[in-house]
Symmetry: C2
Subunit: 404 residues, 2 copies
């Protein structure tokens, strides 16, 4: 490594946590320790907010046992933030970096974090200050561009698949209509993973709704009615971000008091409103279609458990999240460049494998990647079987169920 | 075994499923096969309903591989029912038994199932028809009398503990007030298991509310405000069945359209209404107490995942549920008596062990067992540390987390 840049480094975590976001942090800590160039690795408490408040924890020389325990712990060990830095905020970040001889910045987060990293990087370039900035992707939504998939997604998908698998058996035990609301504001990747729960023809989910396929209330009622007639029960997996035929999110239409976060996003998670609304639609309109007085209708909103549940992360996801962390540091050591760590799939099925490559920050920042049309069924109420090959290796082995 | 009664046997599953209810079924199948007295073992589809409709599946000679897969599958493989048989219904059951030379009836269920078993048993005695009836306990609520604990509880408690453990890290990542609604209509056993998530003084759950301790809205607001001031965040574990100072369930007060099941129980599960209500209380009243304009408040209702999640059952619970099934058959073989299988704890801590004993059906039927007062804290907003020794062995090893 000809181009050694000595100095301090900062690492932070941002946005909604995942079950493996600390694996990436552990990767950064490990690789920084052996870099030979990073003198002190500072962990910023609550992401960029910790940077501007100079609220740091020294991560150099962390005990190996503690490192592994932290790595296996869900959610952001450094704390997270929803702050979306504007130019002025980024200037403050840069000033702190310059004052502390910070030459490396590793930011573990989603596309908003990639954008913040990009702006800080530009400010450093303008000031002719050598700073190497690497974004380390994480999101259970799996909606970052460029990369094949995102660390954090596999574990959330594993949770969803196991939950739907069990809930399908619950629904078969006491037949009725069950609606499960799954995270995913704009992208249906996580909801689509419920497909893995379906092994036999009669298995749920019998219907899967994602934001990429608009669904009207009439279609929803018709679909559920037909599925119930066919199976004598119906399990529905629905994304919290589903949109109606006019392109409006059902959740937004329903929620009377709309709460927005700092990124202008409407709060869809952390409330049972969409599920309760859909249940009410089924109890009235589907019951009428079926000509029955009363229907057993239940709804669950999987909520924050999808990203935080302890002890059930995907083994592959853990390894890959760690790799993303170490790779970011190695890329930063290797030359005067910046970017985001991305995955490319180099093997499928039993030979599943990935390799990392460097993506440009600007290509990852801001816009997101929806579920491609090839994975959506024509009727707009299901996921194509071809999606199984994409998602199965990311989730790891799932329980094998038995039926009588 | 001097007193061999030859004939057929019926096994059925009833009520809300659990993650290990099929372990008990597998236990019955195994023990029946080696009994030497049971000619044919008939599985009743959907419990007593399958009996009166003579909807049976022959479980004799089941393939060993399939048996193990079924055993490891959550929820009732035979299907369940909410039917609560009255005297006439029980007479029909008895008629089917008599017509099919059924001499053994194994019913896996809660206290209502024990009661149904008891009535059928009395009818058989009146008719001078030799029938041996055994109830095999299951309930995630853990509220059956006589037994130390119920098969199904440990797995649900394991799910709750891991969920709260992860969610506490989520809440620490993005501080705010988080409310998690946990199953348990009348008894707080399952909600109390959230205590296992608390390892350090700052860990959540910071407040635990169970139906056994009445809580007024004023107390709830005061408690949350104080906890938030102390920890800078607050994680609340609350039972779906909490009652106010007038002894009314919060859920019933809130739910405008009250749905009751066949046992006259109000539907508290399968809706996000209580969580959303509590969140609204916090957003207004706690925010006012704290003098802040806006609070980050989220709520999750853990719902059916607690009893159905695939792949995360407690190992101890699996073994014990199997044991309850085999023991019921062995008791039935051993003499002309009936009853319910109960557990007695014979060792604590690392030496945790149980032994089975026979309980009378009448002692298990109907009434339930609340969380004893010794496990409730004085303020009515937490669980005493002594509960840990009771619940920990039932749940099995939990993840060990690391913090920075």
């Amino acid at each position: 490594m000809a181009d050694v840049l000595e100095g301090n480094a900062v690492v932070g975590q941002s946005g909604g946590p995942t079950a493996v976001i600390n694996q990436s942090l552990a990767g950064v800590i490990e690789a920084a320790a052996r870099s030979g160039a990073i003198r002190k690795l500072l962990g910023a408490r609550h992401g960029v907010r910790g940077v501007i408040q100079e609220d740091f924890v020294d991560l150099s020389g962390l005990d190996a046992g503690l490192l592994e325990r932290v790595a296996a712990t869900p959610c952001s060990a450094l704390g997270s933030t929803r702050d979306k830095p504007d130019e002025e905020y980024c200037r403050k970040i840069f000033d702190v970096f310059a004052a502390n001889n910070v030459r490396y910045f590793f930011y573990i987060g989603g596309n908003d974090s990639a954008d913040a990293a990009r702006i800080v990087n530009e400010l450093a370039a303008e000031a002719d200050y050598q700073l190497r900035v690497f974004h380390i992707p994480k999101t259970i939504d799996n909606d970052l561009r460029v990369t094949d998939h995102c660390p954090g997604y596999g574990s959330a998908a594993r949770f969803v698949a196991s939950a739907i698998m069990g809930d399908d058996r619950d629904n078969a035990s006491l037949p009725g209509i069950k609606i499960d609301v799954i995270m995913g504001r704009h992208a249906g990747w996580l909801t689509a993973a419920s497909l893995l729960a379906r092994r036999d023809a009669d298995d749920g989910p019998h219907l899967i709704y994602v934001p990429e396929s608009a669904v009207s209330e009439d279609q929803f009622v018709g679909d559920v009615t037909e599925a119930f007639r066919r199976h004598g029960r119906c399990l529905v997996a629905v994304s919290e971000g589903i949109e109606d035929e006019a392109g409006q999110a059902w959740g937004a239409r329903i929620t009377q008091t709309v709460e927005r976060d700092n990124h202008g996003n409407i709060q869809l998670s952390g409330t049972g409103a969409l599920g309760d609304y859909l249940a009410a639609v089924v109890k009235t309109r589907v019951a009428e279609e079926l000509g029955v007085g009363k229907l057993r209708v239940r709804t669950d909103t999987f909520g924050y458990l999808q990203r935080s549940f302890a002890g059930y992360a995907s083994p592959v996801d853990q390894v890959e999240a760690r790799l993303a962390g170490t790779t970011a540091v190695e890329y930063a050591m290797a030359g005067d460049h910046d970017g985001s760590v991305a995955f490319r799939r180099t093997g499928e099925g039993d030979d599943y494998a990935i390799e990392c490559f460097r993506a440009e920050l600007a290509d990852v920042a801001r816009d997101t990647k929806p579920l491609p049309a090839e994975y959506l069924n024509e009727a707009g109420n299901g996921i194509d079987e071809s999606f199984r090959a994409y998602v199965a290796p990311l989730v790891g082995d799932l329980p094998v169920l038995g039926k009588l």
